[in-house]
């Protein structure tokens, strides 16, 4: 298991290397010079040259790339072209906010979907199944940003129960912090719930047809025990894979929800940095997102034997 873990860990290196090249080249192909954008319309050729020199943008692109790569290896991600703040600390600060929203919303979505999907499979083709599947389809059809806007209008503007802009950490002020997080978490959780629910339902239906389930029922075990103790073990692995993919993609891709709720998360920072042509920040964030994506999926793989002892790594 350990050798598998380290082998997978080593595989991250070529993956990240390819990502660094792709991100670096794409960012420089996009029109819009960060120095000219920073200067505005008072053109000062000396200052432009000086800024290019400071940022290393006056060197050939290949030199720029290897210079940046050599610093990344030493964990020096550089400074933002726009604000001058260290990229590493900016990324981790924002990553913390995104992680709170994403991890909690995925957990809520997973728990709800597992219960709902299992019950739907148990009651296949009955009223409960129809209701749960309809709910899942609705969840999948509504984009999270639309749901976010609807929540803001209902709970923020009309009822005025929850704040619509800003952020407070729940560890400082739990009540206030939760108030700021309720709507984004709910919007993301509902949007992601549908897919997980359908996955759980279909795999549970397959599992419930297996002989060991019939055997368990013949022994007189209660239906709930059959479902959540015996069937769930086998349905959980594909669900776990899906959860890993969702969590990985949301950690870098929750920008829309973060923008709607003005959360200072990583996705919003990425979007702002792309608009401002903050090469250094975009490159750093892409590495963080890729690494977290790979690591989360590695973690998910490592969890497989916990749920199915037949799986050997």
């Amino acid at each position: 298991m350990l050798s598998y873990f380290f082998k997978r860990l080593l595989m991250i290196i070529p993956t990240l290397f390819c990502i660094t090249i792709t991100v670096f080249i794409i960012m420089r192909m996009v029109p819009g010079d960060p120095v000219l954008l920073a200067m505005g319309d008072i053109k000062n050729p000396e200052l432009i040259e000086q800024m290019r020199e400071q940022l290393g943008l006056n060197k050939p692109i290949i030199i720029q790339y290897f210079h940046w790569l050599s610093r990344i290896i030493q964990l020096d991600f550089g400074h933002s072209i726009i604000t001058g703040e260290p990229v590493l600390s900016a990324m981790f600060e924002r990553f913390g906010v995104t992680a709170q929203v994403v991890i909690i919303s995925v957990l809520i979505a997973a728990v709800t979907a597992i219960i709902g999907g299992t019950l739907a499979a148990w009651q296949q083709n009955k009223a409960m199944d129809t209701a749960i599947v309809t709910f899942a389809v609705i969840c999948m059809s509504i984009p999270s940003f639309w749901l976010g806007i609807a929540f803001i209008l209902i709970f923020g503007v009309h009822l005025q129960w929850l704040p619509t802009v800003g952020y407070v950490s729940p560890l400082h002020n739990l009540t206030e912090g939760i108030q700021f997080l309720v709507m984004p978490i709910a919007a993301l959780a509902i949007a992601e719930m549908g897919g997980i629910l359908r996955m759980v339902r279909s795999t549970t239906i397959d599992v419930l047809r297996l002989e060991y389930i019939t055997h368990a029922r013949a022994k007189g075990i209660s239906e709930m025990t059959v479902l959540f103790r015996h069937a769930l073990k086998n349905t959980f692995i594909p669900t776990l894979t899906l959860l890993g993919l969702i969590m990985g993609s949301l950690l870098g891709g929750a920008a829309v929800v973060e923008t709607v709720f003005t959360l200072p998360g990583l996705g919003r920072l990425l979007v702002t940095s792309i608009y401002g042509r903050d090469y250094v920040m975009v490159q750093g964030i892409m590495i963080l997102i890729s690494t977290s994506y790979v690591l989360i999926n590695l973690l998910i793989d490592m969890l497989y034997p916990l749920f199915d002892p037949r799986v050997k790594l």
Partner: protein, 534 residues
């Protein structure tokens, strides 16, 4: 092992909270006073830095206008008034400017602001490594060069120029890079920037990047005695603090306004304010803005270098209808580069190109235009840009001009603008407060700034304008520039963008300004008044 799984998940959740929590400590301490009186203003993007005139954007200008003061500032009518200076004198030859600092001028750290500080600041910005964006204004590359800055005692500063300049005061007051009076401790020991220690009515307290900028009332501020006007005059901070909250989404801004979580969203487009205008919780305040919506023409382009093609484009556009439709009836067509408010905007500046499709077609024939494709670049990042491009496309096609709209993301559009990489571009110039500055954004050395109009006569006239202070003489020069521009068609001016400031009903004393800057001094919160009355 299974028992530990929920614990592991909980630990991950806590771990995600922890690093961020540590960074909150400073903020929490600052927020500890019980309910300070606070005005919250929406910023549609974060500031780039807190250093005036260096690595700036318009949001930084908005914030820093409350923190720092220049020797002079713009009045409500955009004329120049003393600000950090109590008064100033200009020599007859327009080469010597003498400023006397006002009494009681103090830095936010409590130290007196003296003439030596003005000189020190000046020397700092003149250093090429300072990154001061407006350096060409003062080193002779764009107008007169400052040859010396001298002090007389603690309160008098004298600037000497190498040639006459009537626009020196305008440059000092220029909102994009004011020559602010800053305490030396604004810089770190190694010369890097720390935070502004200025002389304004609010002091810079905290910048939480991507979230907010917090300014606190400067208790030792000694206001001027003359009445408040524009960015000048008597400024009193009535509230304890002002928070500029970064809200990049317009829908979120509107929701926050209605729900009372922010107090001011300034310079909104009329269409954006439309749906909240009637809400009883807020008040919409309209103002004619100074920003100029235009169709830029690249005169170096192989097709558009033909004067007749440019004239054909001008005559193919029904500009009155254009302005009416594009502004949703909120603005009239302004053919001039000068804003309608300008004292130099006379009847001559109201004369526009006559809409005449036949004339347009005739000019195209004379120019031997064979239907070559002309691209109008625009963006959806600003709806007004996109609307202008679409209207222009529809109108130009009626004159058989083969135009096509190319939609780009805002930064790409700006990049192409700075590099002069366009044929036609639907664009907006942000507000410029004076006649000279308005023409200055358009006319210049094309080899240095490819988006500018490099016409020798226009350049010559603009240089002349910078050497006269006589209004009649200046009027004559600006009239000549306008007439020449109408003849040569390097740009088609559409209209000055109307703006709407939407404010919470709990505010008193807030006034929108044509300069499109929020001004939070002299603004009170109604509950504050009621408490005082009790």
């Amino acid at each position: 092992m299974r028992v530990y799984l929920p614990l592991a998940i909980a630990a991950i959740c806590l771990a995600t909270l922890w690093p961020y929590e540590k960074t909150q400590e400073a903020e929490l301490k600052n927020n500890s006073p019980k309910d300070p009186l606070e005005i919250r203003v929406a910023l549609s993007d974060d500031i780039r830095s807190s250093q005036p005139g260096v690595n700036r954007n318009s949001f930084a200008d908005d914030v820093l206008a409350h923190v720092v003061e220049s020797l002079v500032a713009h009045r409500e009518d955009l004329s120049i008034a003393p600000m950090a200076a109590s008064h100033y004198e200009v020599s007859d030859d327009l080469k010597v400017y003498r400023f006397t600092l006002r009494d009681g001028l103090k830095f936010h750290n409590g130290e007196d602001a003296l003439a030596k500080h003005v000189k020190m600041n000046w020397e700092t910005i003149l250093d090429p490594i300072s990154g001061f964006q407006c350096l060409p204004f003062y080193n002779g590359k764009m107008g007169a060069k400052v040859i010396s800055v001298e002090t007389e005692g603690d309160r008098v500063v004298i600037f000497k120029l190498d040639r006459p300049s009537s626009v020196f005061l305008e440059k000092l007051a220029y909102i994009q890079c004011p020559v602010a009076i800053l305490h030396p401790d604004s810089w770190n020991q190694d010369g890097t920037w720390n935070a502004p220690i200025g002389t304004g009515p609010f002091k810079f307290s905290e910048w939480k990047k991507g979230r907010y900028v917090l300014l606190k009332k400067f208790l030792q501020y000694h206001p001027r005695s003359d009445s408040a006007s524009g960015l000048a005059g008597r400024k009193i901070a009535y509230v304890d603090q002002v928070r500029f909250e970064v809200i990049t989404d317009l829908m979120a801004t509107k929701a926050a306004l209605i729900s009372g979580q922010i107090d001011i969203a300034n310079s909104l487009a009329p269409i954006t304010a439309l749906e909240i205008r009637s809400n009883a919780r807020v008040k919409a305040m309209d103002k004619q803005g100074l920003a100029r919506r235009v169709i830029l023409i690249q005169t170096d382009d192989p097709i558009l270098s033909s004067l007749k093609v440019r004239q054909a484009i001008a005559h193919a556009l029904d500009l009155k209808t254009f302005a009416d439709v594009a502004s949703l009836g909120n603005a009239a067509h302004n053919p001039s580069t000068l804003p309608i408010h300008s004292q130099y905007h006379t009847d001559l500046h109201s004369k526009n190109y006559k809409f005449n499709l036949e004339k347009s077609k005739r000019l195209l024939r004379e120019a031997d235009y064979q239907g070559e494709k002309i691209i109008i670049k625009t963006t959806r990042g600003e709806q007004a840009f996109f609307d202008s491009a679409m209207i222009a496309e529809a109108m130009l096609k009626k004159a058989n001009i083969n135009v096509e709209v190319q939609v780009m993301e805002m930064a790409s559009l700006l990049g192409d603008y700075f590099e002069g990489n366009y044929q036609l571009m639907a664009f907006e110039y942000t507000p410029r407060f004076t006649a000279f500055m308005n023409y200055h954004t358009l006319i210049g050395d094309k080899s240095v700034t490819p988006s500018r109009w490099g016409d020798p006569l226009a350049n010559q006239l603009l240089i002349e304008a910078a050497t006269y202070s006589n209004p009649e003489k200046l009027q004559s020069i600006f009239d000549k520039i306008h007439t020449h521009m109408m003849d040569k068609v390097p740009i088609i001016n559409l209209y000055n963008a109307p703006i709407v400031d939407v404010i919470s009903n709990r505010l008193e004393g807030y006034e929108p300004w044509t300069g499109a800057k929020p001004r939070l001094w002299n603004v009170k919160i109604k509950e504050q008044n009621e408490t005082l009355r009790r």
